[in-house]
């Protein structure tokens, strides 16, 4: 089953009457359970592409479908609701809510989804256990290491039961041990729970773990390698 389907995706910026193609006719299909890394040099259109896949920006033309819903046609308020229920985000700088504990950060997404309390609590505990943070539920982000914070972010991304997890340079701020640990957790979640992960990364260790590597250059996918 296709989780992501992209056809002839274009994003054009008009820079003083000169058209700049950030994305120039991208076609892509990602199936459920894939573990995909998107790589490419600065200016290749990686960030723009990630914004499109995450429903954070609208394309100039083309088609993006997530789980069968064409998101390029949604209004901004519909997109917010779509992101809440369908996409899990992991950011480079963790971006946890500093005034909430690890447990509350994970639960927060389910609060936004109006999930009942019992389900929120059981799922939060299960997710924190899955990312190896059992016993740290009541710690605030400033009491956690970078690696632990990013694991909370992964648990938060999974809290809404998304169609896929979009991770933007998730290891960029982590040391090698934390990176290794995080990647193992995500790989395990991918293999055991069939969770679809899409990364944007410069980190070779992430690329090595990925089972599919897409290389973007000048707004186009120039290589698509499956391992």
């Amino acid at each position: 089953m296709n989780v992501i389907e992209v056809k002839q995706l274009e994003k054009v910026y008009n820079d003083s009457e000169v058209k700049v193609y950030a994305l120039n006719g991208v076609d892509l299909t990602i199936e459920e359970g894939e573990f995909t890394a998107i790589v490419g040099p600065s200016g290749s259109g990686k960030t723009t592409f990630l914004n499109m896949l995450g429903g954070l920006d609208q394309p100039t033309s083309g088609y993006i479908s997530i789980g069968g819903t064409e998101i390029s046609q949604l209004s901004s308020s519909q997109l917010i609701n779509f992101r809440l229920n369908n996409i899990g985000f992991v950011f480079q700088a963790y971006n946890l809510i500093p005034v909430l504990t690890a447990k509350e950060n994970v639960e927060f997404i389910m609060h936004l989804q109006n999930q009942p309390k019992a389900e929120r609590e059981s799922r939060t505990m299960a997710l924190l256990k899955a990312v190896g943070l059992e016993g740290r539920e009541n710690s605030r982000p400033n009491k956690l290491s970078g690696g632990q914070q990013q694991r909370v972010a992964v648990a938060r991304a999974l809290a809404s039961k998304p169609k896929f997890v979009l991770a933007d340079e998730p290891t960029a701020n982590l040391d090698s041990k934390s990176t290794e640990n995080l990647l193992e957790i995500m790989e395990e979640l991918n293999k055991k729970e069939n969770i679809t992960f899409v990364f944007s990364t410069h980190d070779q260790r992430v690329v090595n773990k990925a089972r599919r590597v897409l290389t973007l250059e000048d707004g186009k996918i120039i290589s698509d390698v499956r391992k």
Partner: protein, 428 residues
């Protein structure tokens, strides 16, 4: 955990609503304390501002209330009825026709609990030291007690009692001016009904003190029979019919009723008789709210500034919240709550502090006589008892709430202008 992750379903509704309300309230409250110093400073400013506002309001309210009480219950009473021409020249001949009948009718009205028929004559009063112009009020002491409580304000001597012939009750201010005491002799000069000047000796039976120098200096009370004899008119002659109502809340209705019934006479309530008291009563609260409004307006700018700083510092976080699916409405609501809670925290502290100081000073009052000696000359007591009015407190709390709500709009709107895709990548 379940095997499949594809259970999230898309419903094309607008993101947002009131779900997660308690969580958002909790985040808003916790956000206030992220920068304790900054929030502490603005909360302290609001506390001080609201304390000043509330205490000034209760102080001013107490002052007004005392003035109104004194003005209505001690000086004017609720309603006065005169001959329509009396007010223009205070002439002896401008009496109320058939006053005995009027008095009897008024006494039978079930909404009236006191009627006093006064004879009013302008004259001169002199001691061995000096003399001055006064308004002589000829009264029946027992009837007078049913309309005003001046008899309770006799500081020295008695209220037109204790002397068989020609007792006179004078104000403290007049006694000081004439340099007389109880039992001192005073000579009153006035024009009788024939137009002749006549003199009569009176003896001070009592000195009243009501904290209104003007009234004390102008109004002299004598027995109606004595005054009638001096000016050579019948004892039933009445220039001023003073009426005290059972229920002051019915003042307007009862005044209108009497005015309609006795249309040939001039029927006025205390607000018409003493316009300055009427204005004080009507606009006193407006003045208080205007004053508090100015305080809140200036605090509002400080609150906006604090919240703007808070929003600027959290651009990345706000971007993240919108990226993961927090609707604009919820982000707006979160920041609005944060501002309102910040404002209310300072506001409630300030109001409570103001009320505590009011309670602490309301029993013994605040003596201003050292700073403002002239106050009593203008009819205002120099010893003020601050008063709390629940309605006023409720209105002040609502004003604080409105300030918080208005102050939140600009910072919250500013936060909503960020695009999540850009905000999450800003380096803070």
């Amino acid at each position: 955990m379940k095997k499949s992750t594809n259970t999230g379903s898309f419903t094309p509704s607008i993101g947002g609503g009131w779900g997660g309300g308690s969580m958002i309230t909790s985040i808003s409250w916790k956000n206030i304390w992220r920068n304790r110093v900054r929030s502490g400073v603005i909360i302290a400013a609001i506390t001080i501002g609201m304390f000043a506002g509330v205490f000034t309001a209760t102080f001013y309210k107490g002052w007004i209330k005392q003035r109104l009480n004194a003005g209505v219950e001690t000086e004017v009473s609720h309603i006065q009825i005169h001959n329509r021409e009396f007010g223009e020249n205070y002439e002896l001949k401008c009496f109320i026709p058939e006053s005995a009948k009027l008095k009897e009718e008024l006494s039978k009205e079930n909404f009236i609990d006191g009627v006093s028929a006064r004879m009013v004559v302008q004259g001169m009063i002199a001691s061995t030291e000096t003399g001055t112009g006064v308004r002589l009020l000829g009264v029946d002491p027992e009837k007078e007690k049913t309309v005003i409580n001046l008899y309770k304000k006799v500081a020295d001597g008695q209220f037109l009692e204790g002397m068989k012939r020609n007792p006179v009750l004078i104000g403290k201010k007049l006694a000081d001016k004439l340099k007389v005491k109880v039992h001192s002799k005073l000579v009153v000069t006035l024009q009788d009904s024939q137009g002749h000047l006549t003199n009569e000796a009176f003896r001070v039976c009592g000195i009243y003190s009501i904290g209104n120098g003007m009234f004390e200096e102008m109004n002299v009370f004598v027995l109606k029979a004595d005054l009638a004899r001096v000016v050579q008119v019948d004892e039933t002659t009445t220039h001023e019919m003073v009426v005290h109502l059972k229920n002051h809340d019915q003042l307007k209705e009862d005044t209108e009723l009497l005015a309609k019934k006795y249309s040939q006479l001039l029927v006025q309530d205390w607000q018409q008789l003493t316009p300055e008291l009427g204005i004080l009563n009507e606009y006193g609260n407006t003045y208080i709210y205007f004053f508090i409004g100015i305080i809140l307006l200036s605090l509002g700018f400080g609150i906006v500034n604090t919240m703007l700083m808070a929003v600027m510092e959290r651009v990345k976080e706000i971007g993240m919240l919108m990226a993961v699916g927090m609707s604009k409405f919820r982000v707006f609501w979160m920041l609005m709550l944060e501002t309102v809670l910040l404002t209310l925290t300072g506001g409630i502290f300030g109001i409570l502090l103001g009320l505590l100081v009011t309670i602490a000073t309301s029993k013994n009052g605040i003596d201003l006589s050292f700073y403002a000696k002239g106050l009593e000359d203008m009819g205002y007591s120099s010893h003020v008892y601050p008063t709390i009015e629940i309605n006023m407190v409720v209105v002040i709390v609502i004003l604080v709430l409105i300030t918080g709500l208005i102050a939140s709009i600009y910072p919250a709107r500013k936060a909503l202008k960020y695009k999540p895709a850009e905000a999450i990548r800003i380096d803070m």
